[in-house]
Symmetry: none
Subunit: 196 residues, 4 copies
Amino acid sequence: MSKAKSASGPKKTVGRPKSASSHAAIIAAARAILDEIGPNRLTIDGVAKRAGVGKPTIYRTWANAQELAMAALVAPEDTAVALNQDSMEALLESIITRLNTKRGHQMALMLASAEPDGELFKAFANRVILKGRQDGLEILQRQMALGQIRADTNLAAVLDMIFGAIMLRLLLRHEALDIGLARESLAALLDGIAVH
Amino acid sequence: MSKAKSASGPKKTVGRPKSASSHAAIIAAARAILDEIGPNRLTIDGVAKRAGVGKPTIYRTWANAQELAMAALVAPEDTAVALNQDSMEALLESIITRLNTKRGHQMALMLASAEPDGELFKAFANRVILKGRQDGLEILQRQMALGQIRADTNLAAVLDMIFGAIMLRLLLRHEALDIGLARESLAALLDGIAVH
Amino acid sequence: MSKAKSASGPKKTVGRPKSASSHAAIIAAARAILDEIGPNRLTIDGVAKRAGVGKPTIYRTWANAQELAMAALVAPEDTAVALNQDSMEALLESIITRLNTKRGHQMALMLASAEPDGELFKAFANRVILKGRQDGLEILQRQMALGQIRADTNLAAVLDMIFGAIMLRLLLRHEALDIGLARESLAALLDGIAVH
Amino acid sequence: MSKAKSASGPKKTVGRPKSASSHAAIIAAARAILDEIGPNRLTIDGVAKRAGVGKPTIYRTWANAQELAMAALVAPEDTAVALNQDSMEALLESIITRLNTKRGHQMALMLASAEPDGELFKAFANRVILKGRQDGLEILQRQMALGQIRADTNLAAVLDMIFGAIMLRLLLRHEALDIGLARESLAALLDGIAVH
DNA sequence: AGGTAAACGAGACGGTACGTCGCGTCTTTCA
DNA sequence: TGAAAGACGCGACGTACCGTCTCGTTTACCT
């Protein structure tokens, strides 16, 4: 009789409601594990134990460890971080700065190791790399419209060269990845390397 | 002075030598499994059973499934296949042709998903991508010496753009990977994209 | 005061309880294998396969094959079988009848081959032989109280002679094990073998 | 011409003879391992490594680890140790002294855990326990002939009681095994336990 | 003295079983 | 009635030993 239970809303929550704190604890545990032992060795068992959560609670939201890892990687601060879209060089600097970290490397790893089927992979790829590529495309198109870039340029190829170089150094680590790469890439692309 | 036997080779094998036929059977089984179900689901148990071999025989040579997969991917006929080094375009065509296959995709996947430590990874990366990059470097240096390429060009950045574009398309599959990419890349790089 | 629940039982089971049917299937499979190929060649893999059960399910309850074998040997109907305690001869007859079977022999084997440390071994030894010895002790003490047995008798030695003879024949099989042994043993013990 | 080598024996040994030192090293290694980790965990691999010997050298002489363990247990000083056969009590004292050691316990364990088929088991059983039982039989028969023991005594049962008691305590360790057991057993047997 | 044949050390081989880890699903009890 | 706890069937892991099989190397006998 204490509970008024009037006609508040059509929220037909019977029984125990989903715990928002569990969700957060899971993501936090996953992120901690990612930091400590990397994405390859993240396990659902491990996350459940660390989060103080039952395994089914995890599976209710994510289908497997890969999805959970992706969610944990993109979950956090990135809503706050917007890419700088003023110029290509500024954009690349934002991207390199974001990727050239432990977490960035893990993102690239997940991206590269997952087989490119499935919604989640695409969403992840979009967030991590293709969004930036799209931003770059818009910058280049703007410049092309302004007559700063030759009209017969294959922008897709150009963009893939720029972002491919970043990915390559991120994954193979055969050369340092820093803003210098962006600068050199843009210089070479803009002015060409052939002697005329 | 009894045993002159100068610096011929450190071949000091005692005991029964490793069986070449078992080795071959293992590699063959691994390659078959890679073809059928992919590198992620290749298991040592499966390879052992298929090759008619005990698991320890596999572990005696490879430390885990990843190493075995790498060995199986680079093992075979491709030693005989030399890259065309006449020109950048011809080189890229060789590389794209070789990578743009099921096996090539698997190679890129392994490259991307393995963490870049350990001898075997480096050897694998060399065979799969860095060797081609080195060949490309030599071509560009030749052209630079001939005065066909500007002397202030950062060749490392240029090469990473070219090979990065290939890897990116191989892994993300957001755009088709074909000879066109090579052609467009080279055109953009040689002539620049800026309007002067 | 909320949880009175005084000292009823420490039964504080959370989570899914162990499956009684799996447990039963495991014991049944183990018993079948014991019958067919003996305790030395009983393997966890074999039991798991035969019981249609995962190996971890077995290991969750028993630490190794030896423990499982012991459990399988004592598990079954013999809880219902009470030893006849009316007289020593009747008791020995019960025991010999029970031990002088395939399963009895296996029990003796396990007893003899297990190293006598650990709870489970002691429980097993109790069930298989020491319980009977204890029953025998009570009978002899009763007779001693009645003045039928000399008061200076070392009952422990007497009991070990009786049960030792049974074990010896069970293990070495150098002489037949039958009720005759019990009768002869008792006769010799009661009346002595020396000529006075 | 130094070696007469007349028609001594049909020993047609061609090729390299078996190495006595290897044999000794194997037995020594086996004995060391028995001391350290017991008969259950003795392995051929371990003995071979410890003895600095190839596995086939071991298998050339013993068929499996059990045979080797038996050989190692009976190999040594026991040629020098003769059982005292003057009286039952002296005999039992010898036997208990010999068995109530680490090595003696291991002998009993091997005896009890091996399934009683096969030549080697019988030979081992003879050496370890049945020889002593036979000696005891002779003593009792001598006493029976002298009229010191009742003629209607079932000597087999009596002997199995005595030696069974020893085995039982050796294996189960539920009571101490010492000379006292021999003394109490003999007393009980000779004089009977019943009040007349 | 030289051959030859067996035993040697070493260690790889095809197997079998081990005991563990993680998967994704299920069945309880508790809140 | 959702969530923690945790057992379940399953499959693979990487290791330990088994008993057998090459290897190249002694080490004796027998021409």
